[in-house]
């Protein structure tokens, strides 16, 4: 038996917030007491039946869960004799998987008596989901967004404002997602007493990577039940795109101990991973410390963080959740990448063949399937996380296709 098959993946993170050597808690002292408090409260509510039933209530009645597991027949045929299922989290309220985590964290924030929520956002999906849930629970919402991303994602900015959120443009650093995260952390440090920071991905200091994973793992829990019902067996392959990695881990986590299920994550290859314009932290980065955790990062030799690039603002992040770094090193998950061009192509194919306009993020995962069609065995069952819909992307896509709308 290989080492990766002996690991019980459900024993992580350990009590230090570590996945193997990755993760941990690397923040300024001001935040430490608060993080310890969040961890303690989270552990309490996790066990509470009342919290669980409240969470389930909003999952079902507000988000619209469970999301369907849909056999994408025409895409399957395009690839070959395989069965591709889309886990349709793009049908969730607000159009992506992000809201699963927002409901969870904001219910926790309420239990902690916090009155003000801050969040960072790149593509705007996490900001939108946070603003939505804050409107629902009547909490003040402040969203940090890179000045560049505000331009790229005008529809989401407008929606967030409608929902009552305050959008703060971030002009520091490179004006993108990583800087928005820096600013959100700075805000949190300055307002620790009344504020809760809702991190949108499985990164950040412990307990965030664990908490976000847990809230997102509803995706995989449902998918497992659904596939067992439809196919009477587990899938052969799971597939998801990765920026910070929350949709991927949400799907993967409930299958990690099912060692016969192969798992693949797809990073954003931008203009190619041999160029300097990509967001493939696992393929081209090395481990380091950013935003409170030890994980693979795009950085130079001196430990300064490099800019990421992706056509998809949601994947445009130079780091990755620490659990992914660990899953890479244990070999349990294999990570590859798809370029901007390949993702755009997959975007078009999916729209035409399935009548589903995917977000640019899952288009990366789909691109991998299309590109590697010859690798898959006959009747192989594949579940791909369709983690977001493409409405938010139509402007930037039409732009790159040279079409005016």
């Amino acid at each position: 038996m290989k080492k990766k098959d002996k690991i019980n993946y459900y024993k992580f993170p350990d009590k230090h917030g570590r996945f193997g050597k990755f993760g941990g808690r690397f923040v300024a002292e001001t935040l430490m007491p608060l993080l310890l408090d969040v961890e303690k409260k989270y552990k309490e509510v996790k066990k509470s039946k009342e919290f669980k039933s409240e969470l389930n209530y909003y999952f079902e009645n507000y988000i619209g869960r469970p999301s369907p597991l849909y056999h994408a027949k025409r895409i399957s045929k395009e690839i070959g004799d395989v069965k591709v299922y889309f886990k349709r989290d793009e049908l969730n309220h607000t159009g992506a998987h992000k809201i699963n985590n927002c409901v969870g964290q904001i219910l926790l924030a309420k239990k902690m008596g916090k009155k003000r929520i801050v969040a960072e956002t790149g593509a705007g999906q996490h900001g939108l989901a946070t603003a939505t849930v804050c409107a629902l629970f009547n909490l003040k919402c402040v969203v940090y967004m890179g000045a560049l991303d505000i331009e790229r994602q005008a529809p989401n900015v407008f929606k967030m404002k409608l929902l009552g959120a305050e959008i703060i443009p971030v002009k520091s650093g490179t004006s993108t997602l990583k800087d928005a995260m820096n600013e959100a952390l700075r805000d949190w440090v300055s307002n620790v007493k009344d504020t809760f920071y809702v991190i949108g991905t499985v990164a950040g200091p412990h307990p965030y990577p664990m908490m976000v994973r847990d809230f997102q793992s509803i995706i995989g829990i449902e998918a497992k039940k659904q596939i067992l019902k439809i196919e009477k067996k587990l899938p052969d392959l799971l597939l998801a795109c990765i920026g910070g990695g929350s949709n991927a881990l949400g799907l993967f986590y409930p299958f990690l101990n099912n060692k016969n299920v192969e798992i693949i994550g797809i990073e954003a290859g931008g203009k190619g991973i041999n160029s300097n314009m990509h967001a493939a932290s696992l393929s081209r980065g090395k481990p380091g410390f950013l935003h409170g955790n030890y994980t693979y990062l795009l950085q130079n030799e001196e430990g300064q963080i490099n800019d990421a690039h992706s056509i998809s603002a949601g994947l445009d992040y130079p780091g990755i959740g620490p659990e992914h770094s660990w899953l890479k090193e244990t070999g349990r998950v294999n990570y590859f990448s798809a370029t901007d061009k390949e993702a755009l192509n997959a975007f078009k194919i999916c729209s035409k063949l399935e009548g589903i306009i995917p977000a640019l993020e899952p288009s990366h995962a789909l691109a991998y399937l299309l590109k590697n069609a010859q690798k898959f065995k006959k009747n192989q069952i594949i579940i791909m996380n369709m983690c977001g819909r493409g409405d938010k992307d139509i402007f930037s896509i039409s732009d790159s296709l040279g079409v005016k709308i």
């Binding site: 230090h16 941990g24 002292e29 001001t30 430490m32 608060l34 430990g303």
Partner: protein
């Protein structure tokens, strides 16, 4: 374990003096001028110099020091150039303690052993790593002891009593009390609140306590020095470099402004 930091605070105690700690970023706006700025600090008899080595993502810093880091990185500053800066400074100055302040990633990528070895070689006496809380300082504890570099910790308004004990375990040199909940150079500290906290810390620790974050003028320093062992001034100094960089005045004028500003604080 004793070095320049301990000697400095002992000497100050004897004359009932208070430390004025000055912060600048290494290599801001460039290495050449950075050297001159350090000389200004020396000529003004600053008690302890805190040198920030730049990081692209300084999570605990306000806009002034963020921009300062970016200027320095752009001008080529890194850990080696920081060592060179200190080495150069030490040619003429043996006594003023030097503390490096920054974030963990650049140190880690440099290589911990090499980093500490060079710290001790060039004459660095203490280290403040903003994002390395006591829960994670196992990375450096052996090195700080071996190379006689103090691990100086930040205490904040959110640090409660049990935590204080944990923090004090691996701390030496002096304690840096962060006067506000927030980032550098933004909010003004409340003297009454800071006094309460500092007095609480005194009951548990014998280490000298310096207060920093948001300190910009002589009045604040005078009030804080009534109960602290010294004050740290950072963004207020760095903003002169920012103004110079924006072309508001000449290099010499900038050096003079820093000099005058510090002279006034020292009066």
């Amino acid at each position: 374990m004793q070095n320049r930091i301990d000697n400095k605070f002992l000497a100050l105690k004897k004359i009932n003096g208070k430390a004025l700690v000055a912060f600048v970023t290494s290599g801001d706006p460039n290495q050449k001028i950075s050297k001159k700025i350090l000389n200004v600090l020396r000529n003004q008899k600053i008690d302890l110099i805190e040198i920030g080595f730049p990081f692209s993502d300084p999570m605990a810093d306000g806009p002034t020091i963020q921009k300062s880091s970016q200027r320095a990185i752009k001008a080529g500053a890194n850990i080696d150039s920081t060592f060179e800066l200190v080495k150069n400074f030490r040619k003429n100055e043996e006594d003023i303690p030097i503390v490096l302040m920054g974030y963990f990633n650049p140190i880690f990528q440099y290589g911990l052993k090499d980093f500490f070895l060079k710290c001790s070689k060039v004459g660095i006496d203490g280290l403040i790593i903003v994002d390395l809380p006591p829960e994670e300082d196992h990375y450096i504890n052996n090195y700080t002891k071996k190379y006689n570099v103090h691990n100086i910790r930040l205490l904040t308004p959110t640090t409660h009593k049990e935590r204080l004990n944990k923090i004090l375990q691996q701390t030496s040199g002096f304690l840096y009390y962060v006067s506000v909940m927030g980032i550098t150079g933004t909010k003004k500290p409340s003297i009454i609140e800071v006094k309460k906290s500092v007095n609480k810390i005194r009951k548990i620790s014998k280490l000298p306590i310096c207060v920093g974050f948001g300190i910009k003028n002589k009045n604040q320093i005078q009030s804080l020095n009534k109960f602290s062992d010294g004050c740290v001034v950072g963004s207020a100094i760095v903003s002169f470099i920012e103004d110079y960089d924006k072309g508001k005045y000449s290099e010499n004028q900038m050096l003079k402004n820093i000099s005058d500003f510090l002279a006034n604080l020292k009066k």
